[in-house]
Amino acid sequence: MTTDTTVAEAGTAPRARLSPRKRKKISLTIQYAVFAVAIALLVLVADWQAIQHAFFNLDEARKAFPDILSIGLKNTIIYTLSGYVLGFFLGLVVALMRLSDVVPYRAVALVYIEVFRGLPAIVVFMILGFGMPIAFTDFEMPYDPYGTVALALGLVSAAYLAETFRAGIQAVPKGQTEAARSLGMSQGRAMITVIVPQAIRIVVPPLTNELILLFKDSSLVFVIGFTLSGYDLFKFGESLSNQTGNSTPLIVAGMLYLCLTVPLGYLVRKLEAKQKRGRV
């Protein structure tokens, strides 16, 4: 579009004007200048001493270790992975129900997906944390708090994972089912041996993305309420910050989240690039 107009202008108005190359150079210079000014303002206006004291206080950071690793990080990893494993299988079941020929299955799956995708995760966690013990008084959740947290994160992630699996299953060519059926496999057998394994391969990048999201969502499970030994990374950093009146532990917790999620994000990009190459 830009080339069209410049060509037209060059054709009709042969006056001395800026060439597109020069114009681009000026625009770039302005962008760099704005950036430099913004940085300079930040440096001049901010009180670096105060910022460092509040957020990057080495003494406070040292106090957070090693418990922030042995309690916070450990719990965040356990919560997220157990929730993910549960969500993975539940999501697969919901996806298969969603694609089933049996109308009630489809309806249940649809309602499930809409409810758990539509509700804020924190609402689900609160209902599970407070409502469950009241509603099912005789039911003792095994491995508390791990059981309740896994269930909470599993229920929420299953809704997203189900939609991912459905997309994957539908992306497997129809000929694969037909070949499997022509070899005498039943519909269910074909699904398990031929379709689902290929569907999962197709959706590995989005599945990894869901894991990243779940690492972050796991920071909401504190509303279920537990004792210190059950604190996840966020709750651990937050309570230590409250105690000391210094935000550094939160920054440390944040960094540890990034240590988990950034490599996973890198992995997703790698996987996506690999798939793209594979298809061409």
Partner: protein, 256 residues
């Protein structure tokens, strides 16, 4: 003796579109029957109705005397008597070649892993791709993939093999390998129902040729008759187009 395949009064509609308008034919055990006809005439639909990948709207299909279209038939069990080879190969992309030829034997016929591998390898050898056993489908040429697909179907010990344009998706220089494997299969006495545009194959290997057009069998008989001396105008026009593709628009001339 009961026929290997018997099709009686077969109709198939997709919504308002009637694709098959009453098809009758029989394939005797050991026969090779080739189905030819223009694009859209319903050849694939007919083949897919024979193993019930499509549910016929009306009519009956019998395989070795069992009615597949009967409402109480165990379709998964009945289908095992029919092997099918597709135009697009449809190998399982996530499995090695050996797993492709053994997975259904193990899961459906409950053969042991060793037994399934042995039978699979024998069939891979038969079609000349045994050295590819450990590779994945994507690493194979189209011709090799299609031969693996044939070995996969053969490993289920079918009574009848169905082929839907098995060479149409292949580069011309690879067609010969696949046709060679099919010819060998025919020589060994396999009952085969083949949709094809390879007229030379039909002429040399088929016992019976069916010419289909617009959902009906226009003409059938030995290849020397249907291809060599067709009786119907529609057959002549079709053959003229297929055999002289560069002169497809010329007036069809009656061979005499």
């Amino acid at each position: 003796m009961t026929a290997a395949v018997q099709v009686a009064g077969l109709h198939k509609s997709f919504g308002d579109l009637e694709v098959l308008k009453g098809i009758d034919f029989t394939v005797e055990a050991g026969q090779v029957v080739c189905i030819i006809g223009p694009s859209g005439s319903g050849k694939s639909t007919l083949l897919r109705c024979v193993n019930l990948l499509e549910q016929p709207t009306a009519g009956q299909v019998f395989v070795s005397g069992t009615e597949l279209t009967h409402i109480d038939v165990d379709i998964d069990a009945a289908r095992r008597r029919l092997g099918m080879v597709f135009q697009q190969f449809n190998l399982f992309g996530h499995m090695s070649v050996l797993d492709n030829v053994s997975i259904a034997q193990r899961r459906v016929l409950k053969r042991s892993k060793a037994k399934a591998a042995e039978i699979g390898m024998r069939n891979l050898e038969k079609v000349g791709v045994a050295e590819k056993a450990e590779q994945y489908p994507a690493q194979l040429s189209g011709g090799q993939q299609q031969r693996v697909a044939i070995a996969r179907a053969l490993s289920m010990d079918p009574d009848v093999m169905l082929f839907d344009e098995p060479t149409s998706a292949l580069d011309p220089e690879l067609v010969g390998d696949v046709l060679g494997a099919m010819r060998q299969l025919a020589d060994e006495g396999m009952t085969m129902l083949v949709v094809t545009h390879e007229m030379q194959f039909a002429r040399e290997v088929a016992d019976v040729v069916l010419f289909m057009d617009e959902g009906v069998v226009v003409e059938h008989g030995p290849p020397a008759q249907v291809i060599g001396n067709p009786q119907h105008e529609r057959t002549r026009t079709f053959l003229h187009r297929v055999l002289n593709p560069t002169h497809a628009d010329d007036e069809a001339t009656t061979p005499s």
